[in-house]
């Protein structure tokens, strides 16, 4: 598979070098007083309107303006065209074009994203922010990409900062930061409709309306509907992943005076889908009650005619979850599964006041309130979360060479958790912890664990122009909270401009990842074991540990950025992460391990001509957990994008992705995922300035392949199938 990718890439690269050969790598025009970096910045500035140009700082804070070429960080910026011109439906799909990001699909509505190795599970280990609001789900440590996605018409950019960014962004910015920024309401005036239809019936519709209340106040409202069509699992069974996700939102922007702005915004999202819990290997026969690792599946015990088997062999409540005629072939066991509803509702309001004083102090005060209500019916675990956040940040030039930034924030979270037993598990079971029998032991039991958490944080950073060639940024974030205790997360970054075409940078950061509430506070009852000695089903469980509150990572990074001319950018980023106390879930226990990750990305961005644009990247990442190489993350990934303008209003889009093989980890059912090559082709026709029609074929090389699933929850991965889609965008 990698050979195919290499062959196709060589074809593109040979064209690439042919163009370069005629064009010349080095600057050859007569204007030699601007460096290639400056010319590239001018091109970017030219795309800004007056309002956005008015926001460009003369002196910027390192790490805040992500597209500044001296920024000592590995950054990729996604814009709306990167979504629509590459046939992506959602913003998260476009992360596949970012070297170092591993994006995979489970069933139709499940997207998994990890950055630079280091996961082993669905838990995201990077910080994701949407307009200043952290969107990580504290309960499970995941992100609901569907509910956090925004209409393409209001998306300004997504900044992906690879690498620990805790000193600026805070806790959980371990492997990086994804910062989603939407447009000012003044930039979305009028109406916009976007429709995306896949051949299998999956549909997305978005409508955005913007207007003006006065010369200095603007608003927009929007609605969004996504309908999921049912797909198939790899075995051919229905995936039962049909459902819908609907969202609505608004934004109001007002200029209160010169350099004094107010924003008020909010949104509501609701999703209705079903989810499965794999019950295949959760009933055991205990050969040694003191050692759960000696349990064997109950069907296996039956086949061996072991003594004193339960009667009935399978509890009555469990029997209805049998999938007749199906086995989980890797285990050789009859397939049991339970589907339940998984409703999710989220709403938020946010407000922001920002300004710049006469002595160049740039400040903002923002607040948000969020209510999130979800029920994981397949686990019997539901919770309502209320979150309030108040954040102040400011920056100011000090003298000619320093730029201080600082801030403080407070967050309050409270949870209302409810755990119930799901129907298959409702049979009499001995709980060893209480030494009593019960038929209502839930899979996840939050018990009487804390439900209210406060967090104070502050940060300070200084960006220093040591000379015309060297910029240094040093600072730290300080946090004190109920979940993670007290910590400080320092960071040091430096960039050195070697010459007009080459910049080198390096960084050291310490970052913490706060373990999820599940990892800290829940008792996970993952199986039942039949004890032949006392003829009882006994609960098998493991418990989170409040001491698992922080994974600590030291990150070392080096980077090289080269611009031979304004049309070509080549970047190399290298990193080594040293993580202590990384949490890995059981059974039979939550364990803490030391993990080392080493890798890098090589990317290029090339405007070969007025009609041909190329972009691509290769990433390598190797992780070791307690000295052993991790195989749950693809070591190599690559992507190549080519846009060819056939005519002024007709674009031919090509995307090629390679993903190395990996293992989906599991306590009892590891699933190997072979490497795969994906080819997407599309035509985008811009009839007039306000019409865009795209026709795409995705995954053209394979009829289907598996990518991912929730280990130990899903039975098997869903098919990621070859897809044809039509997208229509109209502004009026």
């Amino acid at each position: 598979m990698f050979q195919k990718f290499t062959n196709l890439s060589l074809f593109y690269l040979s064209c690439f070098f042919a163009v370069i050969g005629t064009d010349g790598l080095a600057e050859s025009d007569n204007n030699t007083s601007l460096s290639p970096f400056e010319k590239a910045e001018l091109k970017r500035l030219l795309e800004l309107d007056f309002r956005d140009l008015g926001r460009v700082p003369i002196r910027s804070v390192l790490g805040y303006e992500q597209e500044y070429w001296r920024n000592p960080a590995s950054v990729h910026v996604i814009r709306p065209d990167d979504v629509s011109l590459n046939g992506h439906v959602l913003m998260v799909d476009s992360f596949r074009n970012v070297a170092g990001m591993y994006v995979s699909r489970g069933v139709g509505y499940d997207d998994f994203v990890t950055m630079r190795n280091f996961s082993g599970s669905a838990t995201e280990k990077f910080l994701t922010i949407v307009d200043g609001r952290e969107v990580l789900q504290r309960m499970g440590g995941t992100i609901n990409w569907t509910t956090e996605d925004v209409p393409l018409a209001i998306l300004d950019r997504v900044e992906i900062i690879r690498g620990a960014g805790a000193s600026i962004w805070g806790t959980n910015a371990v492997s990086g930061v994804v910062n989603v920024v939407t447009k000012h309401a003044a930039a979305t005036q009028g109406n916009s409709v976007r429709l995306v239809m896949e051949h299998d019936g999956t549909f997305l519709g978005e409508y955005v309306h913007g207007g003006k209340l006065s010369e200095d106040s603007f608003y927009r409202v929007w609605v969004r509907d996504q309908e999921y069509a049912e797909g198939e699992l790899m075995s051919g069974l229905p995936a039962r992943d049909d459902g819908y996700a609907r969202k609505a939102g608004f934004r109001y922007d007002k200029s209160l005076g010169p350099d004094l702005d107010f924003t008020f915004a909010g949104g509501f999202a609701t999703r209705r889908v079903d989810h499965v819990m794999d019950l295949t290997a959760r009933l055991f026969y205990s050969t040694d009650p003191s050692d759960p690792t000696n349990n064997i599946p109950i069907h296996t015990a039956d086949s061996y005619a072991l003594p004193n088997l339960p009667s009935p062999l399978i509890p009555v409540s469990w029997q209805s979850s049998l999938v007749n005629g199906e086995t989980v072939s890797s285990l050789g066991l009859p397939r049991y599964q339970n589907y339940e509803e998984m409703p999710q509702d989220g709403s938020h309001l946010r407000a922001k006041l920002s300004g710049i004083t006469d002595n160049d102090l740039e400040w903002s005060l923002s607040a948000y309130a969020e209510l999130y209500d979800t029920s994981l019916g397949h686990i019997g675990h539901s919770w309502e979360r209320k979150e309030y956040d108040l954040d102040f940040r400011a920056n100011k030039p000090v003298g000619d060479r320093h730029h201080l930034s600082f801030g403080a924030a407070f967050r309050h979270m409270s949870f209302d958790v409810n755990d119930v037993v799901t129907s298959p598990w409702a049979f009499s079971t001995l709980d060893p912890e209480t030494n009593s029998s019960s038929s209502t032991i839930p899979i996840l039991d939050y018990g009487t664990s804390p439900t209210s958490f406060d967090r104070f944080s502050g940060f300070i950073q200084d960006s220093i122009d040591l000379s015309d060639d060297v910029v240094l940024s040093l600072g730290s974030k300080f946090e004190d909270g109920d979940l993670s205790g007290s910590n400080f997360q320092p960071g040091l970054r430096i960039s050195y401009t070697l010459n007009e075409q080459n910049i080198f940078w390096g960084a050291y950061s310490r970052a913490y990842r706060q373990a999820s509430l599940v990892e800290q506070y829940t008792k996970v009852s993952y199986a039942r074991a039949w004890n032949p000695a006392d003829s009882n089903w006994t609960n098998q469980s493991f418990t989170g540990d409040p001491a698992n509150h922080d994974e600590q990572m030291d990150a070392y990074e080096l980077g090289w950025r080269m611009r031979p001319n304004a049309d070509l950018l080549i970047e190399l980023s290298l990193y080594h992460y040293d993580t202590k106390d990384a949490v890995f879930s059981g059974p039979p226990i939550y364990s803490l391990s030391d993990v080392e990750t080493t890798g890098g990305e090589l990317t290029f961005d090339y405007h070969a001509s007025d009609t041909w644009y190329l972009e691509g990247g290769y990433s390598y990442s190797r992780g070791k957990k307690d000295g052993e190489i991790q195989i749950d993350f693809p070591e190599s990934m690559a992507n190549l994008t080519s846009h060819i303008k056939i005519r002024d209003n007709l674009l031919f889009s090509q995307n090629l992705y390679y993903t190395d093989d990996r293992i989906i980890p599991s306590a009892y059912n590891e699933i190997p995922i072979d490497d795969y090559l994906r080819l997407d082709l599309g035509l985008v026709w811009r009839l007039k300035e306000d019409w865009e029609i795209g026709l795409f074929g995705r995954d053209l090389l394979d009829s289907d392949h598996p990518e991912n699933m929730y280990n130990d929850l899903d039975v098997e991965p869903g098919k990621v199938e070859r897809t044809f889609l039509l997208s229509i965008t109209k502004e009026f």
Partner: protein, 215 residues
């Protein structure tokens, strides 16, 4: 806040950090005494050049103020290159293929030593004149020679005292525009009124006659 302080400073790390913060402030004070890096000034120049390119696009000239058919409209810069401003403007004009009256504009830069050439050019009729800080040209003379020209420069006094149309100032870490009210009100060359509403970007200076009557 008291709770945060009590919890934080009760730990040795808290005192270490507080000390480090004080040392940092001292370091900031010591290293603030050197001259500003050139990159900041070049950056400011790039933003100014981009504003200029946008303003040209939002300006309308009457037919009388456009060159004859077959002749390109002209953007003239007079004075020495400073911080890459002239190079940035020339690059932006080439990249965006700026048109004036539907015809691609021609960019011309005259150094101070060639003031005579610049004056001759202006006399033949130009659409935009940018006066660099060291330029010896006089705004009133330019207006008489070429009433079709929008006149750009630096500093608030360029508009308030000098009678220019647009100037750049640095304020609150941003590049701002100081615009003469006349630039919006006259028939040609006339700037789109949309720009006037961008209070964070634009400061409008009333005409001298209006200012006098108000005083």
């Amino acid at each position: 806040m008291i709770l945060f302080t009590n919890r934080f400073l009760s730990k040795p790390a808290g005192w270490f950090l507080a000390s480090a913060f004080i040392l940092l402030l001292g370091f900031v004070g010591i290293t603030s005494l050197t001259a500003s890096p050139q990159e900041l000034e070049r950056r400011e120049a790039r933003v100014q050049a981009t504003y200029l390119a946008h303003l040209i696009t939002f300006t309308r000239w009457s037919q009388d103020h456009l060159p004859k058919q077959g002749t390109s409209p002209k953007i003239v810069v007079h004075g020495s290159e400073q911080n890459g401003f002239v190079a940035s403007l020339e690059y932006l004009i080439s990249q965006s293929n700026i048109e004036i009256g539907g015809v691609s504009a021609q960019f011309i830069h005259h150094e101070n030593a060639k003031s005579g050439n610049a004056m001759a050019e202006i006399k033949r009729g130009v659409q935009v004149v940018f006066i660099m800080p060291d330029s010896a040209l006089d705004i009133k003379t330019i207006r008489k020679l070429s009433p079709s020209a929008v006149i750009f420069g630096f500093g608030r006094d360029f508009v308030i005292q000098g009678g220019g149309d647009v100037s750049f100032v640095a304020s609150r870490n941003r590049v701002k525009l100081v615009l003469s009210e006349n630039y919006f009100r006259r028939t040609s060359p006339k700037l789109s009124a949309k720009i006037a509403n961008l209070k964070s970007v634009v400061e409008i200076i009333k005409n001298r006659s209006t200012r006098s009557s108000n005083e």
